[in-house]
């Protein structure tokens, strides 16, 4: 490999690469400043530069790399899945259900998106695919009531995991966010510890707006962890570094495709490597 000096020009190039990976200009600058302190002036190969930079970034991500495991004591462990429109909530529920079914757990799904055309049918297809019953009501019906019914039934049947789908909603729409808070309130009438997890699904293609998404969803519905989807695309998902710095919320899983198996635990190292353009281990 060609050795090169880690000089100002190289550092600027690296900073630009981080910006182009969606870390945002401020976070990219911070990371490069830190990197400069430790590695400036060394004569290293570009492979080494990337590896060291990935290492630096994985320090930021390490604390939020928390695997997601449903609590076996809870029957069911209730997971509410939320996020803005089209990020991959329903698909991720299908993938999670698939994983838990593979592990021999019983899973029930709640078709809480009663708004979007064919949202119920979409989840029903997933339910059939993975072998999980789907609690569904009618289009335009009350999602909170449905979640309550699902929780009641899953409790009676001692189901291991209850995954509640919700309609996509933009965080700046108060009425829609209030509906989400209502789903939680109504579930608590049956079990005041529910939901045990509130997972916010983010699209890796999203830029700086993801920060506002996390801030508002966390404030209004107490998000417990994040899932990042669509990492199989060309988007690098660098906003997760900014999110890790700012909110310190666990990042549980990443979506890497549209099929049932395309869900992976979040790995700080792999993610950091992907960000600096090193192939992550598949």
């Amino acid at each position: 490999f060609v050795k090169r000096l880690l000089d100002d020009d190289t550092l600027e190039e690296l900073e630009d690469e981080l910006i182009a990976a969606d870390l945002g200009p401020a976070v990219a600058e911070r990371i490069i400043t830190k990197f400069r302190e430790t590695s400036f002036g060394q004569n290293v190969t570009s492979e080494e530069i990337r590896a060291t930079l990935a290492h630096e970034i994985s320090h930021v991500l390490e604390p939020v790399a928390v695997p997601f495991t449903p609590d076996p004591e809870k029957k069911p462990h209730v997971v509410l899945v939320v996020g803005v429109n089209g990020t991959g909530k329903t698909t991720t529920i299908g993938k999670m259900a698939h994983q838990y079914r593979q592990e021999g757990k019983s899973v029930t799904l709640v078709a809480g998106d009663t708004f979007r055309a064919a949202a119920v049918e979409q989840l029903q297809v997933w339910g059939e695919r993975v072998g999980a019953p789907v609690i569904a009501g009618k289009q335009g019906g009350d999602a909170a009531g449905l979640a309550y019914d699902g929780l009641k039934r899953a409790t009676e049947e001692k189901t291991d995991v209850l995954l509640v789908d919700t309609a996509g909603r933009l965080h700046n729409k108060n009425a829609l966010m209030e509906e989400l808070a209502k789903i939680i309130r109504v579930m608590k009438k049956f079990d005041d510890t529910a939901p045990h997890s509130v997972l916010l699904v983010l699209d890796a293609t999203t830029g700086q707006n993801a920060i506002e998404q996390v801030r508002v969803f966390q404030e209004l519905v107490n998000v417990s962890g994040l899932i990042v989807t669509k990492l199989d695309g060309s988007a690098r998902g660098g906003i997760v570094v900014a999110l890790a710095e700012k909110f310190k919320l666990p990042v549980h899983m990443v979506g890497v495709g549209e099929k049932a198996e395309d869900l992976r635990p979040f790995s700080a190292q792999d993610y950091a490597r992907g960000l600096v353009g090193e192939a992550a281990t598949p």
């Binding site: 630009d16 910006i19 182009a20 990976a21 969606d22 945002g24 200009p25 803005v84 429109n85 089209g86 990020t87 991959g88 299908g94 708004f115 979007r116 055309a117 064919a118 949202a119 049918e121 979409q122 029903q124 297809v125 997933w126 695919r129 996509g168 933009l170 965080h171 700046n172 729409k173 699209d203 293609t205 999203t206 830029g207 700086q208 707006n209 993801a210 506002e212 669509k230 199989d232 695309g233 060309s234 988007a235 690098r236 660098g238 906003i239 549209e258």
Partner: protein, 296 residues
């Protein structure tokens, strides 16, 4: 952002340092707004060249002068004033092809376009889903068509779903049905696909070749980050784009992806989506989006 412009020193002509300082802030604002880095670079370079040495009128501060140059340049880069209408001049049935990444808003936008065409323009519109990937995708479009049909005295319908048919076959059947049943427009909604998915990009190319769309509309989420350039480039190179629709402008994203899209594809941004309802489609107004991108 507006503070920066006020801070510039007064004088007859805009000096290099006045402009450079302001443009550093403009660069940052644009990056924060998710304009893609290469697009930011060339924008900043162009505006600098245009601004340095420019006369400052007596009644405006140098800051205001730069701000105006930046804003004007941005509006121009977004396509300039005036709306670029849909191409409805092809012989009926006119095919429209909807493409984009997964979850961008293609199916919903197809429904919105149908409502607009059937309502304002009193066209008879056939909606056809070529999405054999996503569960219940065809049903989603069918339900949207029913909804829009009710609002337009039945001028919008969806192509009957035939299980097992592949996208190119569905597209051909849609065009035949359109011809036979006297439709004015056939909207071909496709499955979401990654720009790097060669097989699926090839498939949509085949659909294009089989139907020769009058419009190929790339639907893009307004929250998109830096990857906008990759998406724009790939769809432009591999399929060819005649227009862009920015969805989810009802969010609070600054929407810099709009500029990236225009810069890379050269295609006009024709519409913005402003909600989940089928009525939530607006013509694109560059001057509104320019201010939003700059955070002014």
């Amino acid at each position: 952002m507006s503070k920066v412009f006020e801070g510039l020193s007064r004088g007859g002509k805009l000096s290099e340092s006045d402009v450079s300082e302001a443009m550093r802030e403009v660069r940052l604002a644009m990056l924060e707004a998710d304009v893609a880095l290469p697009v930011v670079r060339s924008f900043v370079k162009n505006v600098k060249e245009r601004a340095v040495g420019g006369e400052v009128l007596d009644d405006v501060s140098p800051g205001q002068a730069v701000a105006k140059i930046v804003n004007d340049a941005l509006i121009e880069a977004l396509g300039g004033a005036g709306v670029v209408p849909l191409n409805l001049s092809a012989p009926a049935p006119i095919p429209f092809l909807m493409v984009g990444l997964q979850g961008a808003g293609k199916t919903t936008t197809s429904g919105k376009l149908a409502l607009r065409l059937a309502g304002r323009d009193r066209k008879k519109v056939l909606l056809a889903s070529l999405d054999v990937q996503r569960p219940a995708a065809q049903l989603q479009l069918q339900q949207l068509a029913e909804q829009v049909g009710q609002q337009t005295e039945g001028r919008v319908t969806s192509l009957a779903i035939v299980d097992g048919q592949q996208p190119v076959e569905i597209a051909r059947r849609a065009m035949e049905t359109g011809r036979r049943e006297g439709y004015d427009v056939v909207v071909l909604d496709t499955a979401g696909r990654l720009a790097i998915d060669e097989a699926l990009m090839d498939e949509v190319r085949q659909v294009r070749d089989a139907t020769s769309p009058a419009e190929t509309l790339l639907v893009v989420d307004a929250m998109t980050g830096q990857d906008a350039v990759n998406t724009a480039q790939a769809f432009k190179d591999q399929i060819g784009i005649t227009g862009v629709v920015m969805s989810r402008m009802d969010g609070d994203a600054r929407g810099g992806a709009a500029l990236s899209m225009k810069a890379v594809t050269g295609a006009p941004i024709k519409f913005t989506g402003s909600g989940e309802k089928v009525s939530a489609l607006e013509e694109f107004h560059p001057e509104r989006v320019a201010g939003r991108i700059l955070g002014l």
